[in-house]
Symmetry: C2
Subunit: 320 residues, 2 copies
């Protein structure tokens, strides 16, 4: 996390053991990938501190933004939910729903449509198609859903997002702040945390499903696919072995090092040692990737085993 | 009715005793008035011929277009429903709902938002606020609701509208015609009838709640208010009594004659006699208005009596 809006309120609620909600979601456009783990870990962190998770399957957004038919989104969602359950989501303290089935979200989006102008939307999102703006209003509906009377009533919420999603935070707060809605719903201003975004394997800015599966590691990789993907990850290695032994690697531009840093080397001392070994040329990229491969492979194997046992439950949740 | 789109299909269904739906609605922005009776009579006509009525309380539209809060719309809706029940709607063959509570309508509106462009909306409705376009998509959702699988499945529908609502017919047919939706929902192209619009009492183009209560006759007028309103109706009378006896009246520009023609003189022969008596100067505006007063007053008194007995039922329907 490197930025936030109003997070102090949430930490105060945690200290005072007061109720709060953690609002998050996933677009059912493909398999869960390692980039999404950043948000997921933060959500689980807040759940462990007492937050109730509102987990939205953003299937309408997937249709409006990425042309994924709702039926296809449904199948993907089952897979995604099995992942998040395997990752440790506590169902007892969660509310999982699909946008396309949640009347109150669609209703809020329709109501809010009166209270925006093209200039406001353009100022926040740039020039977009009509459906993309509609999709933005639906997301505002998601973020404010936990505050409705039929749900938790007005309460504190925190939504962890990547920095690229800061516009949603802005639009949500702009709408929640309007006197008409404060009178009607008693909204408390929603909090947001902004976290770093994992880059794509080829050095791109963001590990994202929309860029295609070559550039990301999903939680469904096999040993075989990992053996192809990990050697191809862009590193901070030099042109030749000799050069690298002499000059050392450049971990600051290395996606392998990012993966260690974010997920696969929890012990800070071990991470620091690896950083030094890289910079001094003691460890070369091949060996470092070999190590990464075995860590990722072990993680995914264990995850898949847990996930397998959650598929039926995921189906039940979505087909209620 | 002076125009239609695809009405032949409906008459064929009636001949063959096949199922069809009559889709209509009312914006809960005020009391039912005589102008709305035109649509209402047509809806009841189709219901008598075997159509199932889908009656929408357009409360979201009332909010988006006319800033009527949903709660206020709810109270007005109860009154409106009591009116339509008193006018003869057969509940056995009706489905009455509020837009703001009908998930499938909100859902269709969201889905359709992907399939419109600003140019398309601007071409149909002119330059409008974002919420007004949203409202238009919600109306498309209403018109296609009876065709969804959870309702009547793909079936013929007819929607009677005033000519000023022709744009909705166009947008609805434009969207229903898209291959993606035809594949998904199996939509049959919806039919529309276009009818004349009753003018406002002061000579304006349309009797409409938005112009204010001075210019319309509601179904809740009292003898006292009628005694003020009817004398003030604009007629085709001449400047002086002498002139009118000599030249005759001008029923073609007379709102009193419109009221006879539309509602208060069912017998065509009687209407024709009145027309001639007016044109020949035999009957003057004062006497003609006196006659109108007693007919309207009797109609409203009888209606109010019937309506009184329907209020509780109307509440029940909307507060389910």
């Amino acid at each position: 996390m490197f930025g936030h809006t109003d997070i102090e309120k949430i930490f105060e609620a945690i200290r005072k053991k007061q109720k709060f909600a953690v609002m998050t979601g996933i677009k059912p456009t493909g398999q869960y990938h390692i980039g999404s783990l950043i948000t997921c870990n933060e959500v689980l962190y807040f759940q462990n501190l007492g937050g109730k998770v509102y987990f939205c399957i953003a299937d309408m957004e997937a249709y409006l933004h990425s042309s994924v038919p709702l039926k296809e989104g449904h199948e993907t969602a089952i897979d995604n939910i099995a992942d998040i359950l395997a990752l440790g989501l506590d169902l007892e303290d969660s509310y999982i729903y699909k946008q396309s089935e949640e009347k109150e979200v669609l209703r809020l989006a329709a109501i809010f449509s009166k209270n925006v102008t093209y200039n406001m939307l353009k100022g926040i999102y740039g020039e977009q198609a009509f459906g993309a703006y509609q999709s933005a209003l639906i997301q505002v509906g998601d973020i404010l859903l936990p505050q409705l009377g039929d749900y938790e009533g007005p309460l504190l919420t925190v939504t962890p997002v990547g920095l690229e999603q800061a516009p949603h935070a802005r639009l949500t707060r702009d709408l929640a702040r309007k006197q008409y809605f404060r009178d009607l719903y008693g909204f408390k201003m929603p909090s947001f945390t902004f976290h770093q975004i994992l880059g794509s394997l080829d050095g791109g800015d963001k590990m994202s499903k929309s860029a295609g599966s070559t550039f990301l590691i999903t939680l469904s990789e096999t040993e075989k696919t990992l053996k192809k993907k990990i050697p191809a990850i862009i590193t901070g290695g030099r042109d030749t072995k000799q050069e690298q032994i002499k000059l050392g690697g450049q971990p600051e531009i290395c996606r392998v090092f990012d993966l260690y840093r974010f997920f696969f080397m929890e012990d800070d001392k071990v991470l620091e040692t690896r950083l030094q070994d890289c910079k001094s040329g003691k460890i070369l990229c091949g060996e470092c990737k070999q190590d990464l491969f075995s860590r990722v492979n072990t993680f995914i194997e264990k995850h898949q085993e847990k996930k397998e046992s959650k598929i039926d439950l995921a189906k039940q949740i979505l087909e209620l």
